[in-house]
């Protein structure tokens, strides 16, 4: 398991590759964590049942931002149907970061937003 402040996480936090927005998205969703004032937007581009583009915007702690960046990496190019099956647990184990219960919510902020966006995409 990676440390919450491992180099990989901090790099993602400082220089996220999937940060930004997409105009005319197929689906977008906004999610907040009222506990820490974090907020996150996810934008998806969907072509032929596949996620062809994914971006996120927002602010938050290192783990919420890095997790969002990593999550979008893993779903790009995948079938919407398959991504909808991605459970919290399998995302967390793919993330591979050791998290305290209080910080789990931070890591899952983007997962919640992604699922909401996919729901809206139909």
């Amino acid at each position: 398991m990676l440390d919450m402040y491992a180099e990989e996480i901090l790099e993602r936090y400082k220089d996220p590759v999937n940060k930004g927005s997409i105009k005319n998205t197929a689906a977008e969703a906004h999610e907040t964590n009222p506990l820490c004032g974090d907020s996150l937007d996810i934008y998806l581009k969907i072509e032929g049942g596949k996620i062809s583009g994914a971006k996120f915007n927002g602010f938050g702690c290192a783990i919420s931002q890095a997790a969002a960046d990593i999550l979008l990496d893993t779903v790009k190019g995948k079938n919407v149907k398959d991504v909808k099956m991605l459970s919290k647990g399998s995302f967390l184990s793919a993330l591979g970061v050791s998290l305290s219960p209080a910080r789990l919510k931070c890591a899952l902020l983007s997962w919640h937003a992604l699922m909401m966006a996919l729901e809206r995409a139909g």
């Binding site: 901090l10 506990l35 820490c36 004032g37 974090d38 907020s39 602010f59 910080r103 931070c106």
Partner: protein
């Protein structure tokens, strides 16, 4: 400087293999052995229900409970112990006033004034009253993080029924001047409620001097057990107020046709109260008074000054609160530029340093400050300068990890 750490068993704990540095007393205080022992002694020797028992234990439990009430009355210089109502926490104390005094009169209108520097507990109950017909307006803060009392003069009117304000902010550390506020409010015929959760534990608060009509505070923030909240209210108000909850202990006589209520303060204490909590609170008050609240206030002012100095030397840290240690309490909210407060708190935790991070139950204030969240370090009589030095060392590490 005071040296009381030895009295607090929990402060001997290690966290992540390091000495615990507890800087979250604004959330809840640690308890001295004197309080822990008092609760234990009560359960081992005197435990019984209060008020209705004629047996020896019942008498002793009642006496212990009522003596705690007297100790609270003396601490804040109330006119009588009848003016002290035991509740669960400061939030419940504020709710009691909202439900019992203001809800019945809300449909006939009028206005309540609160402020943007309040804890949610002094905002949300008034939004509830607002939904029943009373207007609600919020006083702002100035650039120096103090209350905009000049504007209070402008928004006060004969329509104002209540001005409710925190004595000391749980975020900014700002200590307001209740005497000034009470004077202005009373001149307009308005009542005054003081949220004293962050002041009574840290300084001498005299309700005659503050001039407030109602005051709420929490035993657990002043070395007492959790579940010990206090409402102070002037006797004349309590006499006119409706009960808050109904049931046992708050009655004089019950028949199937109707009930006559008990006198104050018991009219507002339905059901078996937190007797052991009151006993612990009594021990906490004894402990605080033995040291002296003036001394505690001076000790904390020294800590604050030291912490603010160290923070400014560190650089890259933004502080939300007055700069002058005389005008504020030892509650220091800050952000390390470029680092989220949760990351600050998580990394400090690895060093054994416990601070708060988040919105500190003051989201409207966060919005006013233009931040999503803050990190907050708060000190008490058991903290020393070395605790804040450990915090600053921890913050240096945070800055190294994040490269800021």
């Amino acid at each position: 400087m005071l040296d009381t750490k030895k009295d607090f068993p929990l402060l001997k704990r290690k966290i992540s293999g390091k000495d615990l540095v507890y800087l979250d007393s604004a959330a809840t205080s640690q308890k001295p052995v004197q309080v822990i022992e008092a609760v234990k002694e009560y359960y081992e020797n005197r435990n019984a229900n209060v008020a209705r028992s004629v047996h020896k234990l019942g008498e002793e439990a009642t006496e212990a409970y009522e003596n705690a009430r007297k100790a609270v009355a003396k601490l804040i210089n109330a006119n009588s112990e009848k003016e002290i109502i035991f509740v669960r926490n400061a939030t419940e104390a504020i709710n009691l006033v909202a439900y019992s005094y203001f809800l019945p009169i809300a449909p006939s209108g009028g206005k309540i004034i609160s402020t943007v520097m309040e804890h949610h507990s002094n905002i949300v109950p008034w939004q509830f009253i607002n939904s029943h017909g009373m207007e609600l307006e919020f006083l702002g803060i100035k650039k120096d993080f103090t209350l905009d009392t000049e504007n209070l003069g402008r928004i006060l009117s004969p329509e104002t029924k209540l001005v409710t304000v925190t004595h000391a902010s749980n975020v900014l550390g700002t200590v307001n001047d209740p005497k000034e506020i009470s004077g202005m409010a009373h001149d307009n015929g308005s009542l005054v409620m003081l949220d004293a959760a962050q002041s009574v534990p840290h300084m001498q608060v005299d309700v005659q001097d503050t001039g407030c009509d109602f005051m709420a505070f929490s035993g657990h923030k002043m070395l007492g057990p959790t579940g010990t909240g206090i409402l102070y209210a002037k006797e004349e108000h309590l006499e006119s107020m409706e009960p808050f909850m109904y049931g046992g202990d708050m009655i004089k006589e019950v028949s199937l046709e109707g009930t006559t209520f008990n006198g104050i303060p018991w009219k507002f204490e339905a059901g078996t109260p937190n007797i052991a909590g009151a006993v612990g609170l009594h021990a906490a008050i004894d402990y605080l008074e033995k040291i002296g609240l003036e001394k505690i206030r001076r000790h904390e002012a020294e800590l604050t000054e030291h912490a603010l100095d160290e923070f400014s030397r560190l650089g890259g840290v933004e502080i939300y609160g007055p700069k002058n240690a005389d005008k504020r309490g030892c509650v220091i909210s800050f952000n390390v530029k470029g680092v989220h407060p949760h990351d600050v708190a998580s990394l400090l935790d690895r060093e054994g340093v416990a601070i708060r991070s988040g919105h500190a139950c003051a989201q409207p204030l966060m919005k006013r400050l233009g931040v999503g969240a803050v990190a907050r370090a708060s000190g008490y009589l058991y903290n020393g300068k070395s605790d804040f030095d450990a915090l600053v060392e921890g913050l240096k590490k945070v800055k190294r990890v994040f490269g800021v």
